[in-house]
Amino acid sequence: MLRYLLIRLVSLTATLIAASVVIFLVMAVIPGNPAVLILGINAQEDTLAALRAELGLNRTLPEQYLAWIGGLVQGDFGTSYTYKVPVAELILDRIWISLPLTLYALALSTAIAFPVGIIAATARGGVLDFGIMGATQLGIAIPNFWFAMMLVFVFAVTLGWFGAGGFPGWDDPLAAIKALTLPAIALALPQASILARVMRSALLETLDEDYIRTARAKGLSRGGMLWRHALRNAMIPVLTILGLQFSFLLAGAIIIENVFFLPGLGRLVFQGITQRDLIVVQSTVMLLVFAVIVVTFLVDLAYALVDPRLRR
């Protein structure tokens, strides 16, 4: 297990470094001079030169990269050009919306998908299975931001059960959770549809295995067989998708925040884009990619716990 962990850690570090190089190069190579982008094409040459020096753009690319990455490691995400405050501060303010929203949606998605997938698998070929599969097809086809708008129309505008958007802050945890509920549902539903389908097909696959038949022949009840053997073995594909879902939900949260006017990381990134505050975009994207890569790593470790054969 230790050897496995070490190998995975080395590969994690390599992926992170490669990802940071890619992000850096995308930002550096794409045409358009950041100083000109910020000041506009009519700016004076000496102001441009001063800004370039301030942004560190007069250094070579490797120097710029090392300065950026060295800062990131120490928690220095650069300084926002428009806000004149450290990017880390901006991110810290907003992560307390995006992260809880993502986790809330992940919890909802799992809570819906597991029972639905299990029911569909046990009712295989029946009317219930057919109905569930039809509903999940629909769920996959619905764009989450449109679903969010429909939720706002029904539950906020028409019924008045929820606010249409905004965030009251965490001082009142209940109000905060309430404000995140519609966004979380909008994010979770399409993902729950995918997860339920994966759960169903993974279960069906294991239910066909010989050892399941043996367990049944030995007199184990249907339920006992399901819990003790089938579910455990169906977890590998389900975990894979769950890990992927974190990345989809995190990216999706960025979009959904727009529908509900939530001041999270997504709003920060889009403001960064419109205001040409490139370091904000660059560092926030790096943080999100970092989160996704680390979650994938943790999922890999979880496999090894579930299936000892993978530790080798």
Partner: protein, 273 residues
């Protein structure tokens, strides 16, 4: 051969949308760009089937024209993904276990690690928002999807007798890949292509919705939804119909993909049935 129900239904729905996009070049009920302040925010009626927007434009006509953008982005991004991903996958499979295979597959893993939306956002941030950049961003993320699929399929084909026979006959790896491997992967690629097509439509809508895809005056379902957002409380039809267009198209394509898989790969029928 019986055509699966899902394929027939999905095929018909998808065809309707392609036909609508095609028809929009010749005819739309109204000019999709014509402003008519007198007719603004009209609910659905006999004159305006899906109602009008805040500028008095006919929403049905706009959806017809918007279908072009969705289809163009999806076709182009699947084209990029297949055009680069399939050769890379074939190449990696032909050189299985070599450093080249390793480089290609690790590169794929890296692209997979990025949420596609984030890269699209970054590209838009720097190169400016446009349909072209949306196509590039979605296309780049289709490359590893097709590369992996192709490599996986090709690896097992390389073990088959007819490929060995071709090798004995003195054919090179490139020729074998083109003449024997690729044709046998066609089914797999068509099914995945259909699915990526629907993913492309969803991502394009999302990008245009947040303002980094299609720009005015290019009509787009995602942008229609963005404009509808502030008016949901008094003109819900503005948001309802473009959204339904997306849902139906994506649903149709997904059903078609499932149906095609059942038709082309009878072994998989058990599981998806």
């Amino acid at each position: 051969m019986r055509v699966p129900f899902a394929l027939a239904l999905g095929g018909i729905v998808s065809l309707v949308f392609v036909a609508m996009a095609g028809l929009s070049y010749l005819w739309t009920p109204y000019d999709a760009e014509a402003l008519s302040i007198a007719n603004r925010l009209k609910p659905p009626s006999a004159e305006h089937w899906f109602g009008t927007d805040h500028f008095g434009r006919d929403i049905f006509s706009m959806i017809m024209v918007g279908a072009r953008t969705s289809i163009a982005v999806a076709v182009a991004s699947v084209g990029i993904g297949m055009g680069l991903g399939v050769p890379l996958g074939l190449w990696a499979a032909a050189r299985r276990g070599s450093w080249l295979d390793e480089v290609i597959m690790r590169g794929n893993d890296l692209v997979f690690a990025f949420p596609s939306l984030l890269i699209a956002i970054m590209i838009a941030a720097l190169a400016g928002p446009s349909v072209m950049n949306a196509i590039l961003a979605i296309g780049i993320f289709n490359i590893p999807v097709f590369a992996r699929l192709t490599r996986g399929g090709a690896l097992s084909l390389w073990q088959r007798e007819f490929v060995m026979a071709a090798r004995v006959a003195g054919k090179g790896a490139a020729r074998i890949s083109a003449e024997h491997i690729l044709p046998n992967l066609a089914n797999l690629l068509i099914v995945q292509g259909t699915i990526q097509f629907s993913v492309g439509i969803l991502v394009e809508a999302a990008l245009s919705y947040v303002g980094i895809g299609a720009q005015p005056p290019t009509p787009s379902w995602g942008r229609m939804l963005a404009e509808a957002q502030t008016m949901v409380s008094f003109a819900p039809h503005m948001a309802l119909f473009p959204g339904l267009a997306i849902v139906l198209t994506v649903l149709g394509l997904n059903l078609m993909g499932d149906g095609l898989r059942d038709l082309l790969d009878p072994r998989g029928r058990e599981r998806t049935a």
